[in-house]
Symmetry: C2
């Protein structure tokens, strides 16, 4: 495949690990990275090692509540500072900016794909970021790792605009939704009717906790006592208190994960037949349970069976989110270069390697 240039919006756990994984991919060149504070752009390819080292400990875990400007809600102790340089601006490759997203849009001609590695604390945040790219005349691939089912509809509402603009939007391109959704769509192939899709994940996040506070916060939002709004307003101390209450191990059942609508959209099954749950352990690097996808259905010759996809326990959450994110990014660029625009999900695409 020809060279693919990409930008990362957001320098939290996902953005950083995506940049790191991309170092192993010959055909992928990161040319831009930004967060609320500034933008790094280099069309010869960013020096990922320098950027990651410079921003170590400068992880932007701030809760972004505004779609476009640099103003954001500060969460207690969320952003550490190295001198005056916050977030990505600690890197020598970056410059402070009032509108980093606009910087990326302005350089859009040289950017094949943009990974929206931003936490979604308001349901329409990512869709509104997409609106900025539409308004800015960007043509290319937008890719996100959104988890919430309800956001897919918002993206579909923009489907015609994406098509007119020459934008291919790959949604739900992480682990779940993402890799595990794709596994379900593939496992469905033995059947003429799928009656049940069960997606069960395990994450050990001890070492990765600092890097992934945003992801943990999003998970807390899935607990019965919380939702997106209330989880967003919790302080870091409150989040840690909830974790303590669970002795560091939180089990999730029946999560609102977009795997359901994405599988329904692909015609595999009804959204209500899809169950997503799992266990998060922030006190161990070992997975508390094995990530498993089980697809049950009926074959054309009348048998009922279950096909199973399991991830090795040593594959970390970061590997299982960012490998696929870049894989779906490549697949998205293939679609876009072939002139296919609009919204696509992981049940419809085979990620590239």
């Amino acid at each position: 495949m020809d060279e693919v240039t990409f930008a990362v919006l957001g320098t939290g756990g996902i953005g950083r690990r995506a940049l790191e994984v991309s170092q192993h991919k010959d055909s992928l060149t990161p040319v831009a990275a930004c967060d609320r504070h500034g933008t790094a752009i280099d069309f010869d390819g960013l020096d990922v090692d320098e950027l990651l080292a410079a921003t170590e400990g400068n992880i932007d875990n701030e809760v972004a509540s505004d779609g476009g400007s640099a103003a954001a809600v500060d969460s207690e102790g969320g952003v550490k500072q190295h001198g005056e340089d916050r977030g990505v601006v600690a890197s020598e490759q970056a410059r402070a900016s009032d509108d980093p997203i606009q910087d990326v849009i302005d350089h859009g001609d040289g950017i094949d794909a943009v990974l929206l590695a931003l936490p979604n604390y308001e349901h329409d945040f990512i869709p509104r970021v997409a609106d900025r790219f539409l308004e800015g005349g960007y043509a290319g691939v937008l890719i996100d790792v959104l988890k919430r089912s309800r956001v897919i509809d918002m993206l579909d509402e923009r489907g015609d605009e994406f098509e007119d603009a020459g934008i291919t939007f790959i949604c739900g391109a992480g682990a779940t939704p993402g890799l595990l959704t794709g596994a379900a769509a593939l496992a469905a192939q033995s059947f003429v009717e799928v009656t049940d899709v069960d997606i069960w994940w395990g994450v050990g996040l001890k070492s990765g906790y600092e890097d992934n506070r945003g992801t943990v916060r999003e998970d807390v939002a899935h607990l019965p006592e919380y939702d997106i709004e209330t989880a967003r307003d919790l302080s870091d101390a409150e989040i840690e208190s909830i974790i303590d209450e669970h002795d560091g191990v939180i089990e999730f059942e029946d999560m609102e994960h977009a795997d359901d609508v994405l599988l329904e959209r692909a015609g595999v099954c009804d959204a209500e037949d899809v169950t997503v749950g799992g266990i998060l352990d922030v006190r161990s690097d070992e997975k508390p349970t094995t990530t498993t996808v089980r697809v049950t259905g009926q074959t054309f010759d009348g048998e009922t069976a279950t096909n199973t996809f399991q991830l090795g326990d040593e594959t970390s959450m970061e590997a299982n989110v960012n490998g696929p994110a870049l894989g779906y990014l490549k697949a998205g660029v293939r679609r876009n270069r072939a002139g296919e625009y609009g919204v696509f999900g992981p049940a419809e695409l085979m990620p590239g390697f």
Copy 2:
């Protein structure tokens, strides 16, 4: 997805079961079916029940050794007759024909995809069938379930011609290669380097033996003592004698299966890192072993792990070949309608449901 019309070349086990599975797929309409004896065409959609019932026991297991004409090598007892009508011609929907492939090509405008469900007893048979479609000016999707690695190169040699002709050729679109190759490509996503792909299949073929003599013969060709040419020349009695020698259970190691070149082509791993083996039991309907794909690799964060995909034991070979064959057919039509021509494999496409 809009309606897809398709034709099936070959009325052996694969062609018949593909027609049967298609009855469960609303968007797929079979409009033509042919074998060496004749052609059935109905653009309102074939009556699959009538066709299958009429040709029951008329299964064309003859070894086709010629790319285009009706002349073929008769194998002992391969074709049963109901009166004068052999093969598909036993169906009231069919007419005898001297050149059934040409009949399909002549009606090509109304046919979105052609499933080449023909056994490949000469390495270049399927490629030569593809040549006939190229010469006939067909534009659309050709799809085969070829297993042998060496044939992929022959198809690639025709890549430019396919692109000029508007043909999208989906190769290796069955179980292995096919579904299991796709599973390997997806499982690879956790890794930055894949070191080993192990594809292990189990087939219980007691009831399905009569319908699938062609497939069994192809399997015998994989035994160390045989190859494609010598297996082709065996009589049915000789095939059954080989099966008896193995007490009905034959184990295969290190088979030449196109999963290897298809995964290499997709950039997942080197062909030599892929191993395909399995166990065929023609005396039982139960699988002698569980079909399992194991992909081992290294993650970006330095871990070695194995991801696993398993098919439920109750999923038959027919379900696992024909469900995916139609799924890859749909995916191929999507590619073709988007203007993407050339050769694609199961490591590059997500099959539709």
